[in-house]
Amino acid sequence: MRKIILFFILNIFLINKSNALIEIDITRGNLDPLPIAISPLHVDVNSQNYEGVKIKELGDNISKIIENNFRATGLFNPLKKEAFVQKPDIAHLKPRFEDWRLIKAQALVTGKLLVKDGKLKVEFRLWDLAAAKEMTALAFTTTPSNWRRVAHIISDKIYERLTGEEGYFDTRIIYVSEDGPKNQRVKKLAIMDQDGANTKYLTLGNELVLTPRFNPTNQMVTYMSYFRNMPRVYLLDIETGTQEVVGNFPGMTFAPRFSPDGKKIVMSFAKDGNSDIYTMDLDSRVVERITDHSSIDTSPSFSPDGKFIAFNSDRSGLQQIYVMRSDGSGVKRITFGNGIYGTPVWSPRGDLIAFTKMRKGRFYIGVMRTDGSGERLLTENYYQEAPSWSPNGRVLVFYRETKAGSKGEGFSAKLWSIDITGYNERRLKTETDASDPSWSSLLSK
């Protein structure tokens, strides 16, 4: 008898295991998003006040951020909290799985938090409701003012567990904030959390600034500024606010990006009407010329292994995308489709290059393999360009401008994102008009 029971239990366990893993395939557009219940985190009654943080609502607020993150992926369908069947603290101990299944949830997130002695202690659990078991759990401690990041880190862990891919929620986006009439735009560097919160302005708008890009550790930004009317590439330390010109070039430098190890900046230098690609080593300050061609060579972007550089050149007559080894040898054109191509950006996974395509007065954001094959156009519009990858290589952020009226009215510039599946196009919230986005890597990596 005992043996039979044991066998039975084992069997259930095995069955559970085979049913257990809710998995989401993010390589295709997901038209049937996974229903997920995100319970408010239970706030421990022993929690103390902390300046600037609403303790009572903290559990609700964290769960709302997680919910928004998941809704924005298009892969999940966070269920309405009114339908929830258990109190947060009880659900967190052990959910009544069958009750949660009744509201059609397939996964459940529960958690609790305690604020004490100036510390925020959070734990969460992810439950597979069909299999009636815990999938993952994590506890961590941080300062209470970090609560938004806590929500993003939890989101990343859940996303990772359910999709098998790294998340991209605990990240920031640096961009150019735009204001004022179209022919007198005031532009500032701005930085915000990936979900639009915590916007900070890094420059005052006294000079024109363009194309900011993060270094791999997200401490530094390289961008272009017209400070003193000398258009040059700059390096900015976000923490200290220190800025410096990159290199000692006698003319315009532009289109900067970091190498994947963060040691070099690759950019264009324009001299006598001709733009070529250069690198500068940030430690040794050694400048190297990478291309030497009478055409325009610009928009360079390293492959994640640092071995190749994709760039934009009009050496064939019109803008096309080329790839070369990072020393400038072995230049090969990779775009041959109808239309002209710009802004190649190598995916952090190394498998794809994102680009802007212009054809018959329309602008497209697309991706192709690194040899130029398999071109897929993801979105078409009046004007859009400058894609930047999410750190997991699944989502692109770019900016889009609208057609203006005869006096420039109706003009706007906004940030948008789209999955590389071509699904889930959505506008990112920004305080002002915005352009030239650059997505950071995971902050907590």
């Binding site: 315009m252 532009f254 289109a255 325009i296 420039g408």
Partner: protein
Amino acid sequence: MMFNKNLKNILLVIFATLILSACSTAKKSGDIDGDVYTGKETVKYLASGVPDRVFFATNKSSLTTAARETLRKQATYLRKNKSLNVTIEGHADERGTREYNLALGERRANAARDYLMTYGISGNRIAVISYGKEKPVNPASTPLAWSQNRRSVTVKVN
């Protein structure tokens, strides 16, 4: 016969309408040749009879006949005013990627500078700066506006 005459009249009317409408569209776009702006609407003057700017075709930095004529006037003016230095600003329209447009503006400004130099103006007197698509003179989203924005502008610096 009667029918034929009527038809003739109708055809005549149609013809006349076509010619008139052709004229009116020609007048509308009369400030663009190919896609290079040829009008005066946005032009300012360094001195009487010396236009400050020249216009370019889409994605091009080659100088048109009209552009060369304007630049020869600028060269003559600069030869007469030996102490005068200038900056040539290069611009692009909004229908290109930002970074490429910066390079294109630079190439346009240099095309104008090179031409002035072949007419004896020292390169030391001519600085260039590209603004890409950042400073449109006409903010509209029309082919006319774009043609006015594809320009190089010679600006006095002293």
